[in-house]
């Protein structure tokens, strides 16, 4: 469903962030992208979101070259993907309910669908009782759950998260992971970048490890062990 073939991204003509990436991701997979800071995880995700375009190589989504999508149709492509940020990116002046509804409004969903879907998703992430709260009245974990609700409200085929637990403690991170696992169980492909070893080891899913922009490991189910020379 998603395929990187010989993808290289060079920033500012000189800095190679990822190099000759070949990667196939099937529908319904759960994938961790791991690696040290600066290894190129976010670059890979930005490429997939078409926030940046590769210097070389082709990225396809459902057999379509995503860099051939016209600007006009880009929004349509992005709707297939729900994106979760490390820093939540909630709109501070909107309530929890409104933040989630915002994503539906932005794609012109009918009001009656919005009224039906938002409470369902909020209950899935366990925030039914906080619907009227504002982001600054929530804990980090709760804010991230709102962000997840917003990412899945439009029923994307794929959810991509860039260090969604980066700002959270282990307990809270596990709650977030449970939700992502549940989303994956319901058939959504989940791609998550992280450098949180405990989480990766706990879940035993497919792991792709990057080092200096190169894939050095791709294991079906595995952990994220320390490298001998590290730390």
């Amino acid at each position: 469903m998603i395929e990187f073939s010989h993808v290289t991204k060079i920033y500012k003509k000189t800095f190679t962030a990822v190099k000759d990436i070949n990667l196939k991701i099937d529908k319904g997979e759960f994938i961790f992208i791991v690696g040290k800071s600066g290894a190129g995880k976010s670059t890979l995700i930005k490429l997939l979101l078409r926030e940046i375009s590769p210097t070389q190589g082709i990225i396809t989504y459902n057999n379509q070259d995503i860099n051939k999508i016209r600007k006009r149709s880009l929004a349509e492509y992005r709707r297939k993907i729900g994106f979760i940020f490390q820093d939540y990116r909630l709109l501070p002046k909107l309530t929890v309910y409104e933040n989630v509804a915002f994503a539906m409004e932005m794609i012109c969903a009918p009001s009656k669908n919005i009224r039906r879907e938002v409470p369902l998703v909020l209950s899935m992430v366990g925030l039914s009782d906080k619907a009227k709260y504002y982001p600054d009245e929530l804990s980090g974990g709760e804010q991230q759950r709102v962000a997840i609700a917003r990412a899945i409200i439009n029923k994307p085929e794929t959810v991509i998260a860039d260090e969604p637990t980066g700002n959270l403690d282990l307990e809270t991170s596990k709650e977030i992971m449970k939700i992502l696992a549940e989303i994956n169980r319901r058939g959504t492909t989940v791609i998550m970048a992280t450098h949180d070893r405990e989480i990766v080891n706990f879940f035993q899913k497919r792991v792709i490890e990057l080092k200096s922009g190169i894939i050095i490991r791709d294991t079906r189910t595995g952990g994220y062990e320390d490298e001998p020379e590290e730390d």
Binding site: L49, E51, R72, L74, A75, E76, Y77, R78, R79, K80, I81, F83, R89, L91, F102, A103, E105, M106, I107, C108, S111, R150, N154
Partner: protein
Amino acid sequence: MNPKKIKYIFKQAFKSMWRNRMMGAASIGSVTAVLIILGFVLIVVLNVNNMAMVAKETFDQIAVYIAEGVDEDQIEEMGKAFREIDGVMAVAFQTKDYALESVKKDWGEDAILLQDLRNNPFPDTYIVQLTDVSKADEVIAKLQTFEGVERVRYYQDAVNTLIKLADFVKRFGAGITIVLLLISVFIISNTIKITVLSRQREIELMQYIGATNGYVRGPLILEGIMLGLLGSLVAILLIMLGYSYTINYLAGRYVALISGMSGYLVGVEMVLDDLIIIFMTIGVGIGILGSLVSLKKFLSI
């Protein structure tokens, strides 16, 4: 377009305009400046053209200058021949001395300047009266074929001067207008840029969500349109006030002149409708262009 979307677009556009009102005022001012210059040019050109037309219809006399050295008999022959031309009502002869005297009279005290003239620079002249202005071109053509005719002067001199003036104003005005136009597009695009930056997180989020284009671009384009529109409304108001004030001023000061040339000036009400349409179109055009320039640059994700 559902009502929710329209509401969102208007709300965001108004909010940004208010939050960013200094730049907004600069944008409106720049559009107003362009349009006032343009309006001034249009009005001047319109009036000058109108004057030229009215002048053409009013002047029914042609001056025929006789070349130096043509003798009196010949001059008399020419006069007779002129009378025969179809379209000529009457012919009167003015000697060069008469011409000099009348100029001296006109100049009054300054006529001293003419004292030292060795030769009378004025030609002998026939004034040809037309039966009908529409025959003018025909008659002129015939007059010019006569030997001994140095030059035939008709309204065309005055009219040509007017037309040249209008042409100059047109070119000069077009130049300034284009430069100012570009400046306003630039200023508006900067205003929109500030809006994009101040709403960056929201706009980025919308792009990640895959928001409908209208949601992302709508408020920004609407903001540009409103700035352009406001600029054009201010310009319309100022131009109309200025124009009617000028006409009234001229009418009050030169009553005789105006009553004699009531047809020369184009009234405010004659140009109002066209001006409103032209100004609003250009204002909105500048606004949209400014927005688009900014969107192309800053909606990057």
